[in-house]
Amino acid sequence: MTHPPYLSPAYRSTLLRAPSRPPLRMKADADAIELTSPVFGHHEVADHEADLTAQHSGEPLGERIVVSGRILDGSGRPVRNTLVEVWQANSAGRYAHERDQHPAPLDPNFTGAGRCLTDDEGRYRFVTVKPGAYPWRNHHNAWRPAHIHFSVFGTAFTQRLVTQMYFPGDPLFPFDPIFQSIPDAAARERLVAAFDLDATEPEWALGYRFDVTLGRTPMEDS
């Protein structure tokens, strides 16, 4: 079982939002439009949108990092020219979102949103800063491990994936109901990026590698 169940009571927001019935399994239908996906044009996404450190007049505070990897389908084939979107908190653990009330500083030089299209090998690459951990009100003394949100399109609308990339060795993993909502430990590990010395740029930024493999559908094995 790869994906979390809808109902995961330790993550309280699931209690009133998790569907109570399992999804209806569709009969095979080659004409179902859900088996196709939008195609994004290169003119729609500018190269600089993949550099989250270059969106303002100055550089953001924090540890500069390069996050790169590949988007693959279930057979290990690259998903080409597909849209990858990321968003994250700043290095102090604060989102540039009006409803984030965590009393950590906003960074005028960091918004924390980027996007790019994959290349012919399914590769993407973002330059950003390492996000901070931050508290949330799910339970007493609840803290989210540092993470970068990813939104990925596959070759079918049913492959649409939104997930979160974590950093290796985070001590908050055992206490985070969102990370722990994934029942299988090996599946959880697939959300943890690997430190990548080859992607690390001397005198400039640490590199992390995060590959994404799209399943048939996130609704499977629920």
Binding site: T2, H3, P4, Y6, Y11, T14, L15, L16, R17, P19, S20, R21, P23, L24, M26, A32, I33, E34, T36, P38, V39, F40, G41, H43, E44, V45, L83, E85, W87, A89, Y95, H97, R99, D100, G112, H149, S151, A156, F157, T158, R160, L161, V162, T163, Q164, I178, S181, I182, A186, A187, R190, V212, T213, L214, G215, T217, P218, M219, E220, S222
Partner: protein
């Protein structure tokens, strides 16, 4: 090995929505329809931090992200407002239905459903008992304005699909 899903969380609003994301066609597009509605939780309360994605099955002639220019895009994205409401303007699809994905805080993976624009014979609809069937059919307020609510949980829970 498949990468697991995680919730979109509450703070996507500054990142994922884009200008005219819910407008698959320009305002003056001939034959345009609107699809509006609300996303509701298990107590019937509005879900103010959901993100809806609409898909017509063809990329079309208008950008999926860059809405400048005429034509029809097959893809739309719309966050819910504080009252749980959303709004799409689209062309009529070639199929009897539009495909819909809903993401939200508290949804560890999206829910998928279909918005049928009329209650007519259909392999999926015909396989459902009447109450469940009714959750997939939009209400026509006028000839070109449809209303479709998504109920994530509870007695009138929307029929969600897996493929």
């Amino acid at each position: 090995m498949t990468t697991p899903s995680q919730t979109v969380g509450p703070f996507f609003g500054y990142a994922l929505p884009y200008a005219q994301g819910g407008e698959l066609v320009p305002e003056d597009h001939p034959g345009a329809i609107t699809v509006t509605g609300r996303v509701l939780d298990g107590e019937g309360e509005p879900v103010p931090d959901a993100l809806l994605e609409l898909w017509l099955g063809e990329t079309g002639t208008r950008g999926a992200l860059d809405r400048r220019g005429p034509g029809v895009s097959g893809f739309g994205r719309c966050p819910t407002a504080p009252d749980g409401s959303y709004r799409f303007r689209t062309a009529r699809p070639a199929t009897p239905y539009l495909a819909l994905l809903v993401f939200a805080r508290g949804l560890l993976k999206p829910v998928a459903t279909r918005i049928y624009l009329e209650d007519a014979p259909d392999p999926l609809l015909d396989s459902l008992e009447p109450a469940l069937r009714a959750t997939l059919i939009a209400r026509a307020e006028t000839a070109d304005a449809y209303v479709f609510d998504v109920r994530l949980q509870g007695e009138e829970e929307t029929a969600f699909l897996e493929f």
